[in-house]
Symmetry: C3
Subunit: 179 residues, 3 copies
Protein backbone atom coordinates (compact mmCIF):
# COMPACT_ATOMS: atom_id res chain seq x y z
CA UNK A 1 0.00 0.00 0.00
CA UNK A 2 2.04 2.97 -1.22
CA UNK A 3 1.06 6.17 0.48
CA UNK A 4 -0.28 8.93 -1.75
CA UNK A 5 2.73 11.08 -0.82
CA UNK A 6 5.09 8.48 -2.17
CA UNK A 7 3.05 8.12 -5.33
CA UNK A 8 3.14 11.84 -5.91
CA UNK A 9 6.88 12.14 -5.38
CA UNK A 10 7.54 9.29 -7.77
CA UNK A 11 5.21 10.60 -10.43
CA UNK A 12 6.93 13.98 -10.44
CA UNK A 13 10.36 12.32 -10.33
CA UNK A 14 11.27 14.21 -7.20
CA UNK A 15 14.78 13.33 -6.05
CA UNK A 16 14.68 10.62 -3.37
CA UNK A 17 18.05 11.58 -1.82
CA UNK A 18 19.53 8.65 0.07
CA UNK A 19 16.44 6.44 0.42
CA UNK A 20 16.09 4.00 -2.49
CA UNK A 21 12.79 4.37 -4.29
CA UNK A 22 11.28 0.92 -3.93
CA UNK A 23 8.42 1.55 -6.36
CA UNK A 24 10.69 1.13 -9.36
CA UNK A 25 9.78 -1.35 -12.08
CA UNK A 26 10.94 -2.87 -15.35
CA UNK A 27 8.84 -4.66 -17.96
CA UNK A 28 10.17 -7.53 -20.07
CA UNK A 29 8.16 -8.68 -23.08
CA UNK A 30 8.97 -12.30 -23.91
CA UNK A 31 8.02 -13.04 -27.52
CA UNK A 32 9.83 -14.47 -30.52
CA UNK A 33 7.70 -12.56 -33.02
CA UNK A 34 8.01 -9.23 -31.18
CA UNK A 35 11.78 -9.73 -30.83
CA UNK A 36 12.01 -10.33 -34.59
CA UNK A 37 9.97 -7.21 -35.24
CA UNK A 38 7.17 -9.17 -36.90
CA UNK A 39 4.60 -8.13 -34.36
CA UNK A 40 4.03 -4.94 -32.41
CA UNK A 41 4.38 -5.35 -28.65
CA UNK A 42 1.07 -4.33 -27.14
CA UNK A 43 1.36 -6.17 -23.83
CA UNK A 44 4.55 -4.52 -22.56
CA UNK A 45 3.21 -0.95 -22.92
CA UNK A 46 -0.18 -1.98 -21.47
CA UNK A 47 1.51 -3.45 -18.39
CA UNK A 48 3.80 -0.43 -18.02
CA UNK A 49 0.75 1.85 -18.08
CA UNK A 50 -0.92 -0.06 -15.23
CA UNK A 51 2.29 0.11 -13.21
CA UNK A 52 2.61 3.87 -13.72
CA UNK A 53 -0.97 4.44 -12.65
CA UNK A 54 -0.23 2.44 -9.50
CA UNK A 55 2.64 4.77 -8.63
CA UNK A 56 5.58 2.81 -10.02
CA UNK A 57 8.39 4.48 -11.88
CA UNK A 58 8.95 2.23 -14.91
CA UNK A 59 12.65 2.74 -15.60
CA UNK A 60 13.16 0.17 -18.32
CA UNK A 61 11.40 -2.05 -20.84
CA UNK A 62 12.90 -4.73 -23.04
CA UNK A 63 11.76 -7.27 -25.62
CA UNK A 64 13.48 -10.66 -25.58
CA UNK A 65 12.77 -13.86 -27.56
CA UNK A 66 11.43 -17.05 -25.92
CA UNK A 67 14.95 -18.07 -24.93
CA UNK A 68 15.68 -19.11 -21.36
CA UNK A 69 19.18 -17.61 -21.15
CA UNK A 70 18.11 -14.27 -22.59
CA UNK A 71 15.18 -14.11 -20.19
CA UNK A 72 17.42 -14.96 -17.24
CA UNK A 73 20.00 -12.36 -18.28
CA UNK A 74 17.36 -9.66 -18.57
CA UNK A 75 15.88 -10.55 -15.17
CA UNK A 76 19.22 -10.56 -13.36
CA UNK A 77 20.27 -7.33 -15.06
CA UNK A 78 17.08 -5.46 -14.15
CA UNK A 79 17.14 -6.77 -10.58
CA UNK A 80 20.16 -4.54 -9.96
CA UNK A 81 18.21 -1.46 -11.00
CA UNK A 82 14.60 -1.99 -9.96
CA UNK A 83 12.66 -3.70 -7.20
CA UNK A 84 9.78 -5.03 -9.30
CA UNK A 85 10.24 -6.85 -12.61
CA UNK A 86 7.23 -7.89 -14.63
CA UNK A 87 7.39 -10.22 -17.61
CA UNK A 88 4.65 -10.78 -20.17
CA UNK A 89 4.57 -13.85 -22.42
CA UNK A 90 5.92 -17.38 -22.46
CA UNK A 91 3.80 -18.71 -19.59
CA UNK A 92 1.76 -21.22 -21.60
CA UNK A 93 2.22 -24.96 -21.86
CA UNK A 94 3.81 -25.23 -25.32
CA UNK A 95 7.44 -26.23 -25.74
CA UNK A 96 8.54 -22.66 -26.48
CA UNK A 97 7.00 -21.33 -23.26
CA UNK A 98 9.99 -21.12 -20.95
CA UNK A 99 9.45 -17.94 -18.93
CA UNK A 100 8.43 -19.71 -15.68
CA UNK A 101 11.45 -22.04 -15.83
CA UNK A 102 13.79 -19.13 -16.62
CA UNK A 103 12.36 -17.19 -13.69
CA UNK A 104 12.63 -20.10 -11.25
CA UNK A 105 16.23 -20.64 -12.34
CA UNK A 106 17.32 -17.24 -11.02
CA UNK A 107 14.96 -16.89 -8.05
CA UNK A 108 16.00 -17.44 -4.44
CA UNK A 109 12.44 -18.34 -3.50
CA UNK A 110 8.97 -18.53 -5.01
CA UNK A 111 5.73 -17.07 -3.69
CA UNK A 112 3.15 -19.64 -4.76
CA UNK A 113 0.23 -17.71 -3.30
CA UNK A 114 0.60 -14.89 -5.82
CA UNK A 115 0.57 -17.18 -8.86
CA UNK A 116 -2.32 -19.04 -7.26
CA UNK A 117 -4.34 -15.85 -6.88
CA UNK A 118 -3.77 -14.85 -10.50
CA UNK A 119 -5.12 -18.22 -11.65
CA UNK A 120 -8.03 -18.15 -9.20
CA UNK A 121 -9.16 -14.68 -10.20
CA UNK A 122 -8.42 -15.40 -13.85
CA UNK A 123 -10.66 -18.47 -13.72
CA UNK A 124 -13.63 -16.18 -13.05
CA UNK A 125 -13.17 -14.82 -16.59
CA UNK A 126 -11.86 -17.86 -18.48
CA UNK A 127 -11.30 -21.45 -17.45
CA UNK A 128 -8.13 -21.41 -19.55
CA UNK A 129 -6.47 -19.37 -16.80
CA UNK A 130 -5.63 -22.78 -15.29
CA UNK A 131 -3.17 -23.30 -18.14
CA UNK A 132 -1.12 -20.24 -17.26
CA UNK A 133 2.09 -21.34 -15.58
CA UNK A 134 3.40 -17.93 -14.53
CA UNK A 135 5.27 -17.79 -11.23
CA UNK A 136 6.21 -15.06 -8.79
CA UNK A 137 9.57 -15.14 -7.12
CA UNK A 138 12.27 -13.22 -5.33
CA UNK A 139 15.76 -12.51 -6.67
CA UNK A 140 17.85 -10.72 -4.04
CA UNK A 141 15.55 -7.84 -3.02
CA UNK A 142 13.58 -7.73 -6.25
CA UNK A 143 10.23 -9.29 -6.91
CA UNK A 144 9.62 -10.95 -10.28
CA UNK A 145 6.15 -11.60 -11.64
CA UNK A 146 5.26 -13.56 -14.79
CA UNK A 147 2.14 -12.43 -16.66
CA UNK A 148 0.48 -14.08 -19.69
CA UNK A 149 1.28 -12.85 -23.17
CA UNK A 150 -1.99 -11.34 -24.30
CA UNK A 151 -2.45 -7.64 -23.44
CA UNK A 152 -5.76 -8.31 -21.71
CA UNK A 153 -4.55 -11.38 -19.83
CA UNK A 154 -1.41 -9.57 -18.73
CA UNK A 155 -3.23 -6.49 -17.45
CA UNK A 156 -5.96 -8.45 -15.69
CA UNK A 157 -3.48 -10.78 -14.00
CA UNK A 158 -1.37 -7.88 -12.82
CA UNK A 159 -4.35 -5.99 -11.45
CA UNK A 160 -5.52 -8.81 -9.18
CA UNK A 161 -2.21 -8.94 -7.29
CA UNK A 162 -1.08 -5.33 -7.54
CA UNK A 163 -2.30 -4.44 -4.05
CA UNK A 164 0.18 -6.94 -2.59
CA UNK A 165 3.28 -5.67 -4.34
CA UNK A 166 4.23 -2.54 -2.32
CA UNK A 167 3.80 -4.52 0.93
CA UNK A 168 5.88 -7.37 -0.49
CA UNK A 169 8.62 -4.94 -1.57
CA UNK A 170 8.68 -3.47 1.93
CA UNK A 171 9.16 -6.93 3.41
CA UNK A 172 12.00 -7.63 0.97
CA UNK A 173 13.69 -4.40 2.07
CA UNK A 174 13.73 -5.78 5.58
CA UNK A 175 10.86 -3.73 6.98
CA UNK A 176 9.21 -6.44 9.03
CA UNK A 177 7.33 -5.89 12.23
CA UNK A 178 6.77 -9.10 14.12
CA UNK A 179 10.27 -10.53 14.17
CA UNK B 1 -13.81 -28.01 -26.51
CA UNK B 2 -13.92 -30.77 -29.11
CA UNK B 3 -16.26 -29.97 -31.95
CA UNK B 4 -19.19 -32.29 -32.45
CA UNK B 5 -17.82 -33.19 -35.90
CA UNK B 6 -14.62 -34.42 -34.38
CA UNK B 7 -16.54 -36.33 -31.75
CA UNK B 8 -18.61 -38.09 -34.40
CA UNK B 9 -15.67 -39.04 -36.58
CA UNK B 10 -13.79 -40.46 -33.62
CA UNK B 11 -16.75 -42.38 -32.27
CA UNK B 12 -17.32 -44.06 -35.60
CA UNK B 13 -13.59 -44.73 -35.99
CA UNK B 14 -13.50 -42.93 -39.33
CA UNK B 15 -10.00 -42.99 -40.83
CA UNK B 16 -8.10 -39.81 -39.99
CA UNK B 17 -5.74 -40.01 -43.01
CA UNK B 18 -2.60 -37.93 -42.43
CA UNK B 19 -3.74 -35.71 -39.54
CA UNK B 20 -2.94 -37.26 -36.17
CA UNK B 21 -6.02 -37.72 -34.03
CA UNK B 22 -5.19 -35.68 -30.94
CA UNK B 23 -8.20 -36.89 -28.97
CA UNK B 24 -6.55 -40.22 -28.22
CA UNK B 25 -6.25 -41.40 -24.64
CA UNK B 26 -4.91 -44.17 -22.43
CA UNK B 27 -5.94 -45.05 -18.89
CA UNK B 28 -3.53 -46.46 -16.31
CA UNK B 29 -4.93 -47.90 -13.10
CA UNK B 30 -2.33 -47.75 -10.33
CA UNK B 31 -3.19 -50.25 -7.61
CA UNK B 32 -1.32 -53.07 -5.88
CA UNK B 33 -4.47 -55.05 -5.19
CA UNK B 34 -5.87 -54.68 -8.71
CA UNK B 35 -2.49 -55.65 -10.18
CA UNK B 36 -2.48 -58.79 -8.02
CA UNK B 37 -6.01 -59.59 -9.14
CA UNK B 38 -7.38 -59.30 -5.60
CA UNK B 39 -9.69 -56.48 -6.48
CA UNK B 40 -11.69 -55.61 -9.55
CA UNK B 41 -10.66 -52.37 -11.22
CA UNK B 42 -13.72 -50.13 -11.24
CA UNK B 43 -11.96 -46.77 -11.57
CA UNK B 44 -10.16 -47.42 -14.85
CA UNK B 45 -13.33 -48.39 -16.78
CA UNK B 46 -15.28 -45.51 -15.19
CA UNK B 47 -12.64 -43.01 -16.30
CA UNK B 48 -12.46 -44.55 -19.79
CA UNK B 49 -16.21 -44.20 -20.12
CA UNK B 50 -16.09 -40.47 -19.31
CA UNK B 51 -13.31 -39.99 -21.85
CA UNK B 52 -15.26 -41.78 -24.57
CA UNK B 53 -18.32 -39.68 -23.92
CA UNK B 54 -16.15 -36.58 -24.27
CA UNK B 55 -15.03 -37.70 -27.74
CA UNK B 56 -11.73 -39.37 -26.90
CA UNK B 57 -10.69 -42.63 -28.51
CA UNK B 58 -9.36 -44.72 -25.60
CA UNK B 59 -6.77 -46.88 -27.31
CA UNK B 60 -5.26 -48.59 -24.28
CA UNK B 61 -5.78 -49.38 -20.63
CA UNK B 62 -3.35 -50.97 -18.20
CA UNK B 63 -3.19 -51.94 -14.54
CA UNK B 64 0.14 -51.44 -12.76
CA UNK B 65 1.12 -51.83 -9.09
CA UNK B 66 2.07 -48.87 -6.89
CA UNK B 67 5.65 -49.01 -8.14
CA UNK B 68 7.35 -45.88 -9.41
CA UNK B 69 9.35 -47.52 -12.20
CA UNK B 70 6.38 -49.46 -13.56
CA UNK B 71 4.25 -46.31 -13.52
CA UNK B 72 6.97 -44.35 -15.31
CA UNK B 73 7.43 -47.06 -17.91
CA UNK B 74 3.71 -47.19 -18.65
CA UNK B 75 3.51 -43.39 -18.96
CA UNK B 76 6.47 -43.10 -21.32
CA UNK B 77 5.24 -46.02 -23.40
CA UNK B 78 1.71 -44.65 -23.82
CA UNK B 79 3.01 -41.14 -24.58
CA UNK B 80 4.27 -42.51 -27.91
CA UNK B 81 0.78 -43.66 -28.85
CA UNK B 82 -1.68 -41.21 -27.34
CA UNK B 83 -1.89 -37.53 -26.50
CA UNK B 84 -3.76 -37.79 -23.19
CA UNK B 85 -2.82 -40.24 -20.44
CA UNK B 86 -4.94 -40.49 -17.34
CA UNK B 87 -3.89 -42.36 -14.21
CA UNK B 88 -6.16 -43.36 -11.35
CA UNK B 89 -4.81 -44.26 -7.92
CA UNK B 90 -1.69 -43.66 -5.84
CA UNK B 91 -2.25 -39.94 -5.26
CA UNK B 92 -2.77 -40.07 -1.51
CA UNK B 93 -0.30 -39.25 1.24
CA UNK B 94 0.65 -42.76 2.40
CA UNK B 95 4.10 -44.19 1.73
CA UNK B 96 2.85 -46.43 -1.09
CA UNK B 97 1.30 -43.49 -2.96
CA UNK B 98 3.94 -42.68 -5.56
CA UNK B 99 1.97 -41.78 -8.69
CA UNK B 100 2.63 -38.01 -8.47
CA UNK B 101 6.38 -38.52 -7.99
CA UNK B 102 6.50 -41.05 -10.86
CA UNK B 103 4.65 -38.61 -13.09
CA UNK B 104 6.87 -35.66 -12.20
CA UNK B 105 9.94 -37.79 -12.88
CA UNK B 106 9.07 -38.17 -16.56
CA UNK B 107 7.37 -34.81 -17.20
CA UNK B 108 9.03 -31.91 -19.00
CA UNK B 109 6.81 -29.44 -17.17
CA UNK B 110 3.91 -29.35 -14.75
CA UNK B 111 0.64 -27.43 -15.04
CA UNK B 112 -0.14 -26.55 -11.43
CA UNK B 113 -3.39 -24.80 -12.30
CA UNK B 114 -5.06 -28.04 -13.36
CA UNK B 115 -4.21 -29.90 -10.15
CA UNK B 116 -5.27 -26.81 -8.24
CA UNK B 117 -8.66 -26.76 -9.91
CA UNK B 118 -9.29 -30.44 -9.18
CA UNK B 119 -8.62 -29.80 -5.48
CA UNK B 120 -10.66 -26.60 -5.42
CA UNK B 121 -13.69 -28.16 -7.04
CA UNK B 122 -13.21 -31.36 -5.07
CA UNK B 123 -13.24 -29.39 -1.83
CA UNK B 124 -16.85 -28.43 -2.55
CA UNK B 125 -17.77 -32.11 -2.09
CA UNK B 126 -15.27 -33.23 0.56
CA UNK B 127 -12.60 -31.38 2.50
CA UNK B 128 -10.36 -34.43 2.06
CA UNK B 129 -9.78 -33.36 -1.55
CA UNK B 130 -6.95 -31.27 -0.09
CA UNK B 131 -5.07 -34.52 0.60
CA UNK B 132 -5.04 -35.55 -3.05
CA UNK B 133 -1.57 -34.96 -4.47
CA UNK B 134 -2.30 -35.66 -8.12
CA UNK B 135 -0.40 -33.57 -10.65
CA UNK B 136 -0.85 -32.70 -14.31
CA UNK B 137 2.16 -32.53 -16.56
CA UNK B 138 3.49 -32.63 -20.08
CA UNK B 139 5.72 -35.35 -21.54
CA UNK B 140 6.76 -34.47 -25.07
CA UNK B 141 3.40 -33.65 -26.71
CA UNK B 142 1.30 -35.72 -24.35
CA UNK B 143 -0.63 -34.50 -21.35
CA UNK B 144 -0.65 -36.65 -18.20
CA UNK B 145 -3.28 -36.28 -15.50
CA UNK B 146 -3.32 -38.03 -12.11
CA UNK B 147 -6.74 -38.81 -10.67
CA UNK B 148 -7.58 -40.25 -7.22
CA UNK B 149 -8.12 -43.99 -6.82
CA UNK B 150 -11.80 -44.20 -5.95
CA UNK B 151 -14.17 -44.49 -8.94
CA UNK B 152 -16.22 -41.52 -7.80
CA UNK B 153 -13.21 -39.35 -6.92
CA UNK B 154 -11.55 -40.20 -10.23
CA UNK B 155 -14.60 -39.39 -12.35
CA UNK B 156 -15.45 -36.19 -10.50
CA UNK B 157 -11.86 -34.91 -10.67
CA UNK B 158 -11.65 -35.64 -14.38
CA UNK B 159 -14.95 -33.94 -15.12
CA UNK B 160 -13.97 -30.60 -13.57
CA UNK B 161 -10.94 -30.19 -15.86
CA UNK B 162 -12.14 -32.02 -18.97
CA UNK B 163 -13.13 -28.81 -20.78
CA UNK B 164 -9.48 -27.70 -20.72
CA UNK B 165 -7.96 -30.81 -22.22
CA UNK B 166 -8.69 -30.44 -25.98
CA UNK B 167 -7.45 -26.84 -25.86
CA UNK B 168 -4.33 -27.91 -23.97
CA UNK B 169 -3.66 -30.68 -26.50
CA UNK B 170 -3.96 -28.17 -29.32
CA UNK B 171 -1.39 -25.94 -27.66
CA UNK B 172 0.96 -28.91 -27.22
CA UNK B 173 0.64 -29.66 -30.94
CA UNK B 174 1.94 -26.17 -31.61
CA UNK B 175 -1.34 -24.56 -32.54
CA UNK B 176 -0.85 -21.27 -30.74
CA UNK B 177 -2.24 -17.95 -31.85
CA UNK B 178 -0.58 -15.02 -30.11
CA UNK B 179 3.09 -15.90 -30.57
CA UNK C 1 -12.35 -36.01 13.16
CA UNK C 2 -11.20 -37.22 16.57
CA UNK C 3 -13.95 -39.06 18.37
CA UNK C 4 -15.06 -37.53 21.65
CA UNK C 5 -13.96 -40.69 23.45
CA UNK C 6 -10.44 -40.23 22.20
CA UNK C 7 -10.50 -36.57 23.14
CA UNK C 8 -11.51 -37.39 26.66
CA UNK C 9 -8.90 -40.09 27.14
CA UNK C 10 -6.17 -37.83 25.85
CA UNK C 11 -7.21 -34.84 27.90
CA UNK C 12 -7.16 -36.88 31.10
CA UNK C 13 -3.88 -38.48 30.07
CA UNK C 14 -5.36 -41.93 30.40
CA UNK C 15 -2.80 -44.62 29.61
CA UNK C 16 -3.02 -45.73 25.97
CA UNK C 17 -1.59 -49.22 26.59
CA UNK C 18 -0.11 -50.76 23.43
CA UNK C 19 -1.81 -48.63 20.77
CA UNK C 20 0.29 -45.62 19.79
CA UNK C 21 -1.53 -42.36 20.39
CA UNK C 22 -1.53 -40.73 17.00
CA UNK C 23 -2.97 -37.46 18.29
CA UNK C 24 0.38 -36.37 19.68
CA UNK C 25 1.82 -33.02 18.73
CA UNK C 26 4.81 -30.73 19.15
CA UNK C 27 4.98 -26.98 18.57
CA UNK C 28 8.10 -25.22 17.30
CA UNK C 29 8.26 -21.44 17.45
CA UNK C 30 10.67 -20.10 14.84
CA UNK C 31 11.81 -16.61 15.79
CA UNK C 32 15.17 -14.92 16.26
CA UNK C 33 13.85 -12.45 18.80
CA UNK C 34 12.01 -15.08 20.85
CA UNK C 35 15.08 -17.32 20.77
CA UNK C 36 17.19 -14.45 22.12
CA UNK C 37 14.64 -13.81 24.83
CA UNK C 38 13.86 -10.30 23.53
CA UNK C 39 10.27 -11.11 22.84
CA UNK C 40 7.70 -13.26 24.57
CA UNK C 41 6.46 -16.17 22.48
CA UNK C 42 2.71 -15.73 22.17
CA UNK C 43 2.15 -17.80 19.01
CA UNK C 44 3.52 -21.10 20.27
CA UNK C 45 1.25 -21.22 23.35
CA UNK C 46 -1.75 -20.04 21.30
CA UNK C 47 -1.22 -22.84 18.78
CA UNK C 48 -0.69 -25.40 21.54
CA UNK C 49 -3.98 -24.36 23.11
CA UNK C 50 -5.89 -24.92 19.86
CA UNK C 51 -4.27 -28.34 19.47
CA UNK C 52 -5.22 -29.36 23.01
CA UNK C 53 -8.81 -28.30 22.48
CA UNK C 54 -8.87 -30.46 19.35
CA UNK C 55 -7.83 -33.50 21.34
CA UNK C 56 -4.08 -33.51 20.75
CA UNK C 57 -1.61 -34.25 23.48
CA UNK C 58 1.07 -31.56 23.08
CA UNK C 59 4.15 -33.34 24.38
CA UNK C 60 6.79 -30.75 23.53
CA UNK C 61 7.34 -27.13 22.58
CA UNK C 62 10.57 -25.45 21.53
CA UNK C 63 11.78 -22.04 20.42
CA UNK C 64 14.44 -21.94 17.70
CA UNK C 65 15.98 -19.03 15.77
CA UNK C 66 15.37 -18.46 12.04
CA UNK C 67 18.16 -20.88 11.18
CA UNK C 68 17.55 -23.64 8.68
CA UNK C 69 19.70 -26.29 10.35
CA UNK C 70 18.22 -25.68 13.79
CA UNK C 71 14.70 -25.87 12.37
CA UNK C 72 15.52 -29.09 10.54
CA UNK C 73 17.07 -30.62 13.64
CA UNK C 74 14.04 -29.78 15.75
CA UNK C 75 11.65 -31.20 13.12
CA UNK C 76 13.54 -34.49 12.73
CA UNK C 77 13.92 -34.84 16.49
CA UNK C 78 10.23 -34.30 17.22
CA UNK C 79 9.15 -36.61 14.37
CA UNK C 80 10.48 -39.51 16.44
CA UNK C 81 8.19 -38.61 19.32
CA UNK C 82 5.02 -37.16 17.84
CA UNK C 83 2.85 -37.57 14.76
CA UNK C 84 1.98 -33.91 14.22
CA UNK C 85 4.53 -31.09 14.31
CA UNK C 86 3.41 -27.52 13.95
CA UNK C 87 5.77 -24.61 13.38
CA UNK C 88 4.91 -20.94 13.74
CA UNK C 89 7.04 -18.20 12.15
CA UNK C 90 9.50 -17.80 9.30
CA UNK C 91 6.99 -18.32 6.48
CA UNK C 92 7.21 -14.81 5.00
CA UNK C 93 9.13 -13.65 1.95
CA UNK C 94 12.07 -11.88 3.62
CA UNK C 95 15.58 -13.32 3.47
CA UNK C 96 15.43 -14.55 7.07
CA UNK C 97 12.23 -16.52 6.45
CA UNK C 98 13.52 -20.05 5.92
CA UNK C 99 10.98 -22.29 7.63
CA UNK C 100 9.38 -23.58 4.38
CA UNK C 101 12.77 -24.44 2.87
CA UNK C 102 13.90 -26.13 6.09
CA UNK C 103 10.69 -28.15 6.18
CA UNK C 104 10.92 -29.19 2.53
CA UNK C 105 14.53 -30.26 3.08
CA UNK C 106 13.51 -32.97 5.56
CA UNK C 107 10.14 -33.98 4.10
CA UNK C 108 9.57 -37.12 2.04
CA UNK C 109 6.62 -35.50 0.29
CA UNK C 110 4.57 -32.31 0.35
CA UNK C 111 0.79 -31.93 0.52
CA UNK C 112 0.18 -28.80 -1.55
CA UNK C 113 -3.57 -28.87 -1.00
CA UNK C 114 -3.22 -28.09 2.70
CA UNK C 115 -1.00 -25.04 2.17
CA UNK C 116 -3.36 -23.99 -0.61
CA UNK C 117 -6.37 -24.15 1.67
CA UNK C 118 -4.66 -22.07 4.37
CA UNK C 119 -3.95 -19.34 1.82
CA UNK C 120 -7.43 -19.55 0.27
CA UNK C 121 -9.23 -19.28 3.60
CA UNK C 122 -6.71 -16.72 4.85
CA UNK C 123 -7.42 -14.54 1.81
CA UNK C 124 -10.98 -14.11 3.06
CA UNK C 125 -9.56 -12.14 6.01
CA UNK C 126 -6.50 -10.47 4.46
CA UNK C 127 -5.11 -10.40 0.94
CA UNK C 128 -1.63 -10.65 2.46
CA UNK C 129 -2.30 -14.33 3.12
CA UNK C 130 -1.00 -14.84 -0.43
CA UNK C 131 2.47 -13.92 0.85
CA UNK C 132 2.56 -16.75 3.36
CA UNK C 133 4.83 -19.48 2.05
CA UNK C 134 4.11 -22.13 4.68
CA UNK C 135 4.08 -25.74 3.47
CA UNK C 136 2.71 -29.00 4.79
CA UNK C 137 4.71 -32.17 4.40
CA UNK C 138 5.34 -35.69 5.59
CA UNK C 139 8.48 -36.90 7.34
CA UNK C 140 8.30 -40.64 7.92
CA UNK C 141 4.88 -41.04 9.59
CA UNK C 142 4.71 -37.51 10.95
CA UNK C 143 2.89 -34.59 9.44
CA UNK C 144 4.56 -31.17 9.55
CA UNK C 145 2.61 -27.95 9.14
CA UNK C 146 4.07 -24.45 8.84
CA UNK C 147 1.96 -21.62 10.26
CA UNK C 148 2.59 -17.85 10.05
CA UNK C 149 4.35 -16.08 12.91
CA UNK C 150 1.62 -13.84 14.29
CA UNK C 151 -0.55 -15.42 17.02
CA UNK C 152 -3.73 -14.62 15.13
CA UNK C 153 -2.43 -15.73 11.73
CA UNK C 154 -1.07 -18.94 13.24
CA UNK C 155 -4.30 -19.86 15.02
CA UNK C 156 -6.55 -18.99 12.09
CA UNK C 157 -4.41 -20.92 9.61
CA UNK C 158 -4.36 -23.97 11.87
CA UNK C 159 -8.10 -23.89 12.41
CA UNK C 160 -8.98 -24.02 8.70
CA UNK C 161 -7.10 -27.29 8.15
CA UNK C 162 -7.47 -28.92 11.56
CA UNK C 163 -10.36 -31.15 10.46
CA UNK C 164 -8.04 -32.86 7.95
CA UNK C 165 -5.24 -33.73 10.35
CA UNK C 166 -6.59 -36.80 12.22
CA UNK C 167 -7.63 -38.36 8.89
CA UNK C 168 -4.21 -37.57 7.39
CA UNK C 169 -2.46 -39.10 10.41
CA UNK C 170 -4.55 -42.25 10.02
CA UNK C 171 -3.50 -42.54 6.37
CA UNK C 172 0.15 -42.08 7.35
CA UNK C 173 -0.21 -44.92 9.87
CA UNK C 174 -1.23 -47.15 6.99
CA UNK C 175 -4.96 -47.22 7.66
CA UNK C 176 -6.16 -46.96 4.08
CA UNK C 177 -9.32 -48.50 2.74
CA UNK C 178 -9.39 -48.61 -1.03
CA UNK C 179 -6.00 -50.16 -1.78
Amino acid sequence: MSSSTTDASLKTSAPKASAPAILTAAVITVSDSCARGERKDLSGPAVAEVLKEAGFRVVATQIVPDDSMQIQNALVHFAIEVRFIVTTGGTGIAARDVTPEATEAICDRLIDGIAERMRLEGAKKTSFAALSRGVCGVHDKSLILNLPGSPRGAVESLEVVLDLIPHALNLLEGHTEHK
